[in-house]
Symmetry: C2
Subunit: 309 residues, 2 copies
C-alpha cells in the first residue's frame, strides 16, 4: 500500500468529507439492480441529487426502478443519459464494466466524474488507465461491500450502504482531488470509505468473498440430491451464496484468478491441518483449530448476523 | 442398506405409527440442552408423557429446563432418574454417549427402551452391540436432524422436530419391535422417521453436516483479523456454523473420521475443477459448475431459509 492511502488515513479523510456532504445535481446510474437502485434511493432519501437518471437495457427494469423511487428519470440511451450527469455510477456485473466505461467516456462532458461498484478492481482500473491520456472523464473505481441474496431494483434499500465499508481503489496516477470526490460520493451515501490499491482490494476480497463463494458452491455441487433431506441449518447457511447468479460469479472469479487461487490455498492449508488432526486422533490440536475459527467468527459480532446479507 | 429398512419403507412405517401416537408414562431425558429440552417440550405439548424427568450434571441448567416447562421433575442422580422411566433419551454430546449408555443400562428396569440424539451413530451403536447379550435395556440409536446455533434449554422449542427428519439407526441384530417403538417415539414428536444402518447415516451426515462444518471453520480460521471489515453476507453465512462449540464438534469429526475425509475429498474434487476452469479461463465450464451448485441449492427450497438453523 502507498503512503497516505492506508486504511486508517482514508477513513479519517472520509469522515471529514461526510460531515459536509456535497450535492450532486445530476447523477446517472448505469444498471439499476440492487446496488444501482440502492444508490438511487439513498441519493433521493438524503436529498443529495436533484436528478437521478436510471440507464439500462431493459425498459421493464427501468420502469421498476422508477416505481420504486430509485431514479427520477430513465433512458435506454447510454450516451444521452450520461451526457447530462456530473457523476456517473456503473453498477453492472464486472464482466461488462470495462466496455461500459469506454462507451460512457465517449459520451460524457469533459471532466465528468465516473465511479463503479464492481466486485473486482484491478482489471477494471488497469483497463481505464491504459487509455488514461485520451479520456474525457475522471474515473476512480470503487466497491461498496454490501449486498443481499435478493436481486433487482425491488430489493434495493436506501440504507444498504449505511455503516458498510466502501473501498475506493485509485490507480497510482489518480489525482488526489478525484479520489476525494469519489470517496465523498460513497461517504455521502452512508458508507465508511477505505482507500487501497486495486490489487490489495482484489487480494482481500478473494479471502472474504470470492474463495468462500467458490467453496460454498463446491459443497452444494458435491452434495448428491439423495442427501438433500438430511441437510439442516449448517448446510443451508454454508451454501446460501451458492444460489447466486452463475454468470456474474464466473466473471468475478475469472477476473480475480490469482487472488482466488491463493485464498483457496490458504483455506486448504487449514483444512489439511484439521484433517491431519482427525486422522491422528489429535483432539487437542483439532479443538485448538476449531477454537481459532470460533474466535474469528465470534469477533465479527453476532449482531451482524441479524443484518441482511 | 438392508432390505425392508430403506428410506421409503420406513417412512411409510413411521407415517402409520404417527397416526396413533403412543403414550410414554415416564420419559427420562439425560442432558437438557437444546435437543433434550425440545423433546421435553414436545412431549408435554403433545400430552405424550405424564412425567418427564430431566437428568443432568448442573442443577442450574436443570432448574432452567424446569422453568421452561421442558421437564416435570429433575435429578442429578442418573441411576435413580432412569430407573423410573419406560424410555430414556440420551441427549448429550457424542463424546459422552457410550459411557452414559453403559451407566444408564446398569440402572434401568429390564426391557427399558433407550435412544439417543447423537450426531454420529456407528461407534455409539457398535459400543452398545459389543455387550448386547448382557444388556438390561433395549437401545436403538437415533439422530434428529434439527438444531439451531442457539444452545441450552432456553433455546428449546416444542416444534423443533416438526417436519424434520429423524434418522433411526438399528444394528443388524436389533429386533423389529424395538425399531418400531423408537421410530414411533421420534414420529410422535413430529419428525419424519427414516431408518438406515449407522454407517450409512455417518457417511450421509459427513456430506451434509460434518464436512461443511470443517470447511466453514477452515474459512473462518484462514481469514486474518485485518480482513474482517471487508466481509459481508457471503462470509457471514458461510462461516456461521464455525461459531459452534469446538469440543462438541471435535468429538463429532473425530468419531466420523473416515466419512469426513471422504466427503471433504468429494468437495475438493469440485473445488479443483472450478480452480482449473478459472486458471484456464474456461468460462463455459465454470458457469456450468456454478449452475450445478445453484441448482442443488435452489432445490432445497428457499422457504427453508426462513426456518431456524
Amino acid at each position: 500500500m502507498r503512503a497516505g492511502r492506508t486504511t486508517s488515513g482514508s477513513q479519517t479523510q472520509a469522515a471529514s468529507i461526510r460531515r459536509t456532504p456535497r450535492q450532486w445535481p445530476t447523477v446517472a446510474i448505469v444498471g439499476v439492480g440492487l446496488i444501482g437502485g440502492s444508490v438511487g434511493l439513498a441519493l433521493v432519501a438524503r436529498r443529495l441529487a436533484s436528478e437521478v437518471i436510471g440507464i439500462g437495457r431493459s425498459a421493464a427494469s427501468l420502469a421498476e426502478a422508477k416505481r420504486a423511487g430509485a431514479v427520477t428519470r430513465t433512458t435506454l440511451d447510454l450516451a444521452a443519459g450520461v451526457a447530462e450527469a456530473e457523476i456517473v455510477l456503473v453498477a453492472s456485473g464486472v464482466g461488462a464494466i470495462p466496455g461500459l466505461l469506454d462507451a460512457i467516456d465517449k459520451a460524457v462532458r469533459p471532466g465528468t466524474l465516473i465511479t463503479d461498484a464492481g466486485s473486482t478492481k484491478a482489471s477494471i482500473v488497469s483497463a481505464w488507465e491504459k487509455r488514461r491520456r485520451s479520456r474525457r472523464g475522471r474515473f476512480v473505481g470503487a466497491h461498496p461491500i454490501a449486498g443481499s441474496h435478493r436481486r433487482g431494483p425491488t430489493a434495493a434499500t436506501a440504507d444498504l450502504f449505511d455503516g458498510r465499508v466502501a473501498v475506493v481503489t485509485p490507480a497510482a496516477t489518480t489525482p488526489e482531488a478525484d479520489i476525494e470526490e469519489v470517496a465523498g460520493f460513497w461517504a455521502s451515501l452512508g458508507a465508511n470509505v477505505v482507500t487501497m490499491p486495486p490489487r490489495d482490494h482484489d487480494r482481500m476480497l478473494a479471502m472474504t468473498s470470492h474463495a468462500p463463494h467458490l467453496l460454498a458452491a463446491a459443497i452444494a455441487a458435491a452434495t448428491p440430491a439423495s442427501a438433500r433431506q438430511f441437510t439442516a441449518g449448517g448446510w443451508r447457511d454454508t451454501t446460501r451464496i451458492a444460489a447466486g447468479d452463475p454468470g456474474l460469479w464466473a466473471d468475478i472469479l475469472l477476473d480475480n484468478a490469482a487472488g482466488v487461487a491463493s485464498a483457496v490455498s490458504r483455506i486448504t492449508t487449514v483444512t489439511e491441518k484439521m484433517l491431519s488432526a482427525i486422522a491422528k486422533g489429535d483432539r487437542r490440536k483439532l479443538v485448538a483449530l476449531l477454537q481459532r475459527a470460533k474466535d474469528e467468527r465470534d469477533a465479527l459480532g453476532k449482531e451482524r448476523d441479524a443484518l441482511g446479507s
